[in-house]
Amino acid sequence: MSADIAAQDAARRQIWIDRGERYGLLIAWLIVIAAFGLAKPGIFLSWANFSTIFGSQAVLVVMTLGLIIPLTAGDYDLSIAGNLTLSSMTIAVLNVYFGWPIFAAALMALAVGLVIGAVNAFLVLFFRINSLIVTLGMGTFLHGITLWISNSNTISGIDFAIANVVIVTRLFGIPLAFYYALLIAAIIWYVFTFTAAGQRLLFVGRGREVARLSGIRVDQVRAATFLVSGLLGGFAGILSVGSLGAADPNSGLSYLLPAFAAAFLGATTITPGRFNPIGSVIAVYFLVTGITGLSILGISTFVQDLFYGGALVIAVCLSQLVRGRQERLS
């Protein structure tokens, strides 16, 4: 009888632990907001501040979403930041120097992203090289092309139409860029959760040999993830041009580490142990909120590096803990 009660207690405790894990990051985010709100209510808790946070970080959200797809299949795409700089520079060069209509230039940026994904996939799958190395080299290579075609200059004067549809037009006070990012997150969430393709992707990442022997065409799945991350890198380039009204050959690179931090931090929440789009979105805004709050408090810019770098390491440690606990429970 008492053993029954103890077991029930343990089961109830387990449910709470699970919930804590699932919503921990969301709760932490709310706590961070509350803390900064108490410290600087006038500035921090203003709608303007939040709409800036939401709108300005859409690029980072899209990049993070681009990363979690190959990550789920067990591959890295470190070239996504180089992809972003090159595709945004492509828009600038085509639109400003060659007079292409902005719409065509934006389509070209997506095409550039896709080609990068295809080349990554080819190198990784045909030569059987570790994706970490291939995409590390590819990212730097792309940055080189960006510097070359831009003469290492920021190119401004891009057709204002792109800024209009990305950052200027607002819905409920938040720039459209935010909703684009949410839409992509929702699509990925649907594919991960409710399609056979998502299940196959998961198996390719967790047990490549099991997937192969189950009749899944592992190489096709992996190639597709590189194509999608390439495409999302290109889309992040469009959002970046729209947000800045210009293309900067360097600043995009600084997104890489935050995107990884958010991807791994996001994997500790919502569906702990799995890379997931909703967790990724929450993780991005958690990190950005913290950084924004600290800079409002007057702490200087090194805090960004402390925050992102620390978050990446802590997130990976946390996910290891979660995995260890799941295995111990077994």
Partner: protein, 536 residues
């Protein structure tokens, strides 16, 4: 000739004790299961002792006790060169008492040079702040010359031929013995060094072994191949079911005598044979399959028939099912299933699954299941389209389907949300069967289907296989577990050196008959075909 060696060593007039190593009353239990029982054996100085026995006879446990990987049950004694050594051996202690191992996979790093591989043991245990590469290379060349090897110390190991690698690994082990002068004995344990060597090259390995024992060292030669053992050893100790079945002087032993010691006269249980039944028409033709260890094999399987494929290590039997499925590419070969032909040089698992072929892999944790996912995820993977996978996957339907499969296959724990890593090997295997048998396959390929499966689950796996056969599937089962083959197979094919050498059917199948056939080689083929005729 072999007898002459032991006589020569004994008459060498050396002061070292004649017994290099003696094991007394060695027993080992794993939980309730007995792996070794009261084993006593000795290895003399300057001799080659053959250690023979079937899979599960206790050979590897014995070797692992000497390697310090298993602690034996209390009461065992180990005497090395007259000195008592405390058991269990701490890991690595075998080096200090003068034992070195060469395992089947040799333990060489292919991308590193011969010299680096030679010195790896030394660098692992001793600090060395200035490696004199040239001096070491000279020493290596002298060592190789002593044994008639011509190897470039600076060539990467991957450029050596397979026999050169085996010879080098043995010389390296011998060198490690010599680098331990404080050790009382020099005992080299060769654990199945030959199965992947071409027949002609085995002779080179043997002359190296003779060289080594002529220097006063001892060799324990573990093998399945009776012909080789008869050729190289001075004495043979045979293990069977964890006990010493007998020790023979090689010179006076016949092959039949050795086989009988290995196999024993076990009585096969009548109830362990599948019931007689009507088989369907021919369903599968595997035509001229070549690749890996298989050198051209053709066979047919009828609908509802269970065909076993077996042989010794290195005979190629374990490559057959992987190539039939396309998991491993064949060099040549065709598989015809109910009239549909597939070129096995181009086959892929994807295509095979599409044809109605499934593979239950042997390495469950790496190839059968994903341990970090749930039963539901694992069991529904090949049939996601049934749950609306193309539009909107119904998680609820997947879960309740998995629950139904758990019920049908008696998987414990029952909850479909259980992580695979939380289950016993037997229950994991039930999930693997549940995953594949739901596809109504027309050809089921099994690779060691009950490896790491407990006794209760094993009986159930057999029953499920029989049910599948009863529904008209053709079944091919690769296994070295002869009892299992006797329990489920209508026919058993035996391979040796990549070729079919025996076929047992019906009442001719028994655990011991299969084991006996495995020790036959292609040379004995004529005798085998005679055996196939129904014996009185």
């Amino acid at each position: 000739m072999t007898a002459g060696y032991s006589a020569g060593a004994a008459g060498a007039g050396n002061t070292a004790p004649a017994i290099a190593l003696r094991i007394e009353r060695l027993s080992k239990h794993f939980g309730g299961a007995r792996a070794l029982a009261d084993v006593t054996l000795e290895v003399r100085r300057g001799e080659v002792l053959g250690l023979l026995g079937q899979n599960g006879s206790g050979k590897s446990t014995l070797i692992k006790v000497l390697a310090g990987m298993h602690a034996p049950d209390p009461g065992a004694r180990l005497v090395v060169a007259g000195r008592e050594v405390d058991l269990p051996l701490p890991p690595g202690e075998f080096r200090r008492i003068g034992i070195a191992f060469v395992h089947q996979h040799l333990g060489l790093v292919p991308s590193m040079t011969v010299l680096e591989n030679l010195l790896v043991g030394e660098h692992a245990t001793r600090a060395n702040w200035k490696i004199g590469w040239r001096r070491q290379a000279e020493r290596a060349l002298a060592l190789f010359a002593r044994f008639g090897l011509t190897l470039d110390p600076f060539a990467p190991v991957e450029r050596l031929s397979s026999v050169q690698r085996a010879l080098f690994a043995i010389v390296r082990a011998f060198d490690q013995l010599e680098q331990t002068p404080e050790a009382a004995a020099r005992i080299l344990i060769l654990d199945e060094p030959t199965p992947f060597l071409p027949a002609g090259d085995v002779e080179k390995l043997f002359s190296l072994v003779r060289n080594i024992v002529s220097e006063g060292a001892s060799v324990i030669f573990v093998s399945h191949d009776i012909d080789e053992v008869a050729q190289i050893t001075d004495r043979i100790t045979v293990l069977r079911d964890g006990r010493v079945a007998g020790t023979l002087d090689t010179a006076g032993a016949s092959k039949a005598e050795i086989i009988e010691l290995i196999v024993g006269r076990t009585v096969d249980l009548a109830g362990m044979r599948p019931p007689q039944r009507e088989l369907g028409p021919e369903a599968v033709l595997v035509n001229d399959l070549k690749g890996r260890g298989v050198a051209g094999v053709t066979f047919r399987v009828r609908a509802g028939e269970v065909v076993g494929v077996t042989g010794l290590i290195g005979s190629g039997y374990d490559d057959v099912v992987g190539m039939c499925f396309g998991a491993v590419r064949a060099e040549t070969g065709f598989l015809t299933l109910h009239g549909a032909e597939q070129d096995l040089a181009l086959a892929s698992p994807h295509r095979s699954v599409g044809m109605g072929i499934v593979l239950i892999p042997g390495d469950r944790l790496a190839a059968g299941i994903v341990p970090t996912l749930t039963i539901t995820d694992n069991v529904t993977l090949p049939v996601l389209d049934r749950f609306g996978g193309n539009v909107m996957l119904s998680r609820r339907a997947m879960r309740s389907f998995a629950a139904g499969r758990n019920e049908a296959f008696d998987v414990r724990p029952r909850s479909p949300d259980t992580l695979m890593s939380a289950m016993s090997g037997g229950n994991q295997q039930k999930v693997v069967l549940a995953k594949w048998f739901q596809m109504n396959p027309r050809l089921v390929l099994l690779d060691e289907p009950t490896q790491g499966v407990d006794v209760g689950a094993r009986a159930q796996v057999f029953a499920e296989i029989r049910t599948m056969a009863g529904e008209g599937a053709a079944i091919i089962c690769a296994s070295s577990d002869h009892e299992q083959l006797a329990a489920i197979c209508d026919r058993v094919l035996v391979l040796s050196r990549g070729r079919l050498v025996a076929e047992l059917a019906g009442d001719a199948i028994s655990k011991s008959a299969i084991a006996e056939s495995c020790y036959l080689t292609a040379d004995d083929l004529d005798r085998t075909t005679a055996k196939e005729a129904p014996a009185p």
